[in-house]
């Protein structure tokens, strides 16, 4: 059985390697060697100082230097001393470089679109890809306090509302759900924590305070692709930590019995069930934890 699972992973690797090889081949069509193309793309993606480039591309100082020289000769990049530390240097795309980078982006997009077009309904495939993506790069997930109006936070909140609607089998309306006071999930009263993988939101949680010792946990959500990784635990931990930093002594939360995974987590993390403390229509289970 274990051996069988290993061969499933290896079959997966083989089939994906073919796609990746094809993408790299298409990069060669731009006339420049793969090494130079990779550097150009990394710069386009925002890796601009040389040491960073060396790390992510695993290049020797000499090799990177020469590749940069060749891109400069093509007029695609410009390298200047870093004003903050003139030993080191930063590089950036010229206008021509931006254009060339755009063409590589186009090639990548076409390859990706091509995969999707081979499927009438690609939803299943995309969901599967997300699960793999998150699983393989879970160590790159970062937890950040950010404003709940930010782009990432908004995506989380919308996904949260959509899922709750589905799970509770009613049209869940964020405005009706008993906290018009989103602004209380903002420094200095409270906070909002987002877990993200690059630009992809994978989870969120809000701490809604009122300046006193008692605050509420709201809007705990984990992206479907990111479940089963223990992310909720990490997210709750960082929310509790952030609450502590705000001087909060006791946290409360309400939830719905449909959300059984969450409830089991709260118990595991030392929360205790308490009596109903509000008259919102959606929640039917209530918890409390002293920090």
């Amino acid at each position: 059985m274990q051996i069988d699972n290993i061969s499933r992973v290896r079959n997966f690797g083989r089939s994906v390697a073919v796609e990746i090889g094809a993408l790299e081949d298409s990069f060669l069509d731009r006339g420049r060697p793969l090494g130079a193309a990779r550097v150009l793309n990394a710069i386009g993606l925002g890796y601009q100082n040389l040491s960073e480039l060396r790390t992510i591309l695993k290049l020797d100082t000499g090799l990177l230097s020469r590749l940069l020289r060749s891109l400069e000769a093509e007029g695609l990049i410009e390298t200047n001393p870093n004003p903050a530390d003139k030993r080191s240097r930063v590089t950036r795309l010229t206008e021509a470089g931006e254009k060339e980078f755009g063409i590589y982006e186009q090639l990548s997009n076409e390859r990706a679109a091509n995969i999707l077009e081979r499927h009438k309904d690609a939803r299943r495939l995309l969901d599967a890809m997300d699960i793999v993506t998150v699983a393989l790069s879970r160590e790159n997930i970062v937890f950040e306090e950010m404003d709940y109006t930010s782009d990432l936070a908004t995506k989380c909140l919308n996904a949260f509302a959509a899922e709750l609607s589905k799970r509770l089998k009613v049209e869940f309306d964020l405005k009706k759900s008993g906290d018009p006071g989103l602004s209380q999930m903002k420094q200095p009263l409270g906070t909002f924590v987002v877990a993200r993988l690059g630009d992809f939101p994978v989870g969120c949680v809000g701490v809604k305070g009122n300046g006193g010792a008692l605050a509420e946990i709201k809007r705990m959500w984990i992206a479907p692709a990111a479940r089963g990784l223990g992310l909720a635990h990490q997210l709750m931990t960082s929310a509790e930590k952030a609450a502590c930093a705000l001087g909060i002594k006791t946290l409360r939360l309400d939830t719905n019995s449909t959300l059984f995974e969450a409830i089991s987590l709260y118990r595991k993390m030392g929360w205790t069930e308490i009596d109903r403390f509000n008259d919102d229509p959606y929640p039917d289970v209530f918890f409390e934890k002293h920090l």
Copy 2:
């Protein structure tokens, strides 16, 4: 939305590329260049004649020749003229080569196991990987008539029984299900068709005949990872074709109303619903098609 989907695919590609790169790096630790390692592995996997090796590894005649020479010099392979056509040559691993190939296999297995070990419950990840594997290499799926006692067919039949048990919410027992006559799904009375991707079974269907003009379709199953690709349609087509070749004029089948995807397919493919033609406990819908 479409743009968002493309970036999901690209994020996926990036995260998997890292894993694949790491595997190739670990191959380099064996001291020999990647080109030679790839040839050795391809030979170990059974690609033994040179033209085949050139095709799958996309190598120039000269380059492959030299790589083989270097593996020979290491004593890992042995190349001999093909007795059937002495212009061409076949190569195979020596004992030392088998051993070295085993080490590469070990490295690959460890990488794969390592991914699985990072997950308490890897089932979700494995299922997702299977979906991606099948989707990306669907053009490599082959349909083959084979004996229902073969290894692949047995895997299909077991999976079929397991799933039916789950869908019908009863313990489904193949022996009770109204066809002790598995032997009728065998030439010359009938046949059994398996769809596979390499060594992985992705679907099956049986034609159970009795030498007359009337036969039955049995055991139609598609692996969960392979659903939504139109595989069932292809499978049914090949079953009908095989039935024709056996001189069968009319096909019947029974099924259960729980299996709604299958039922919708039968209608689409020109089957018409008919009255119950047996008294098996499980089926409750019956179809017929004149070939």
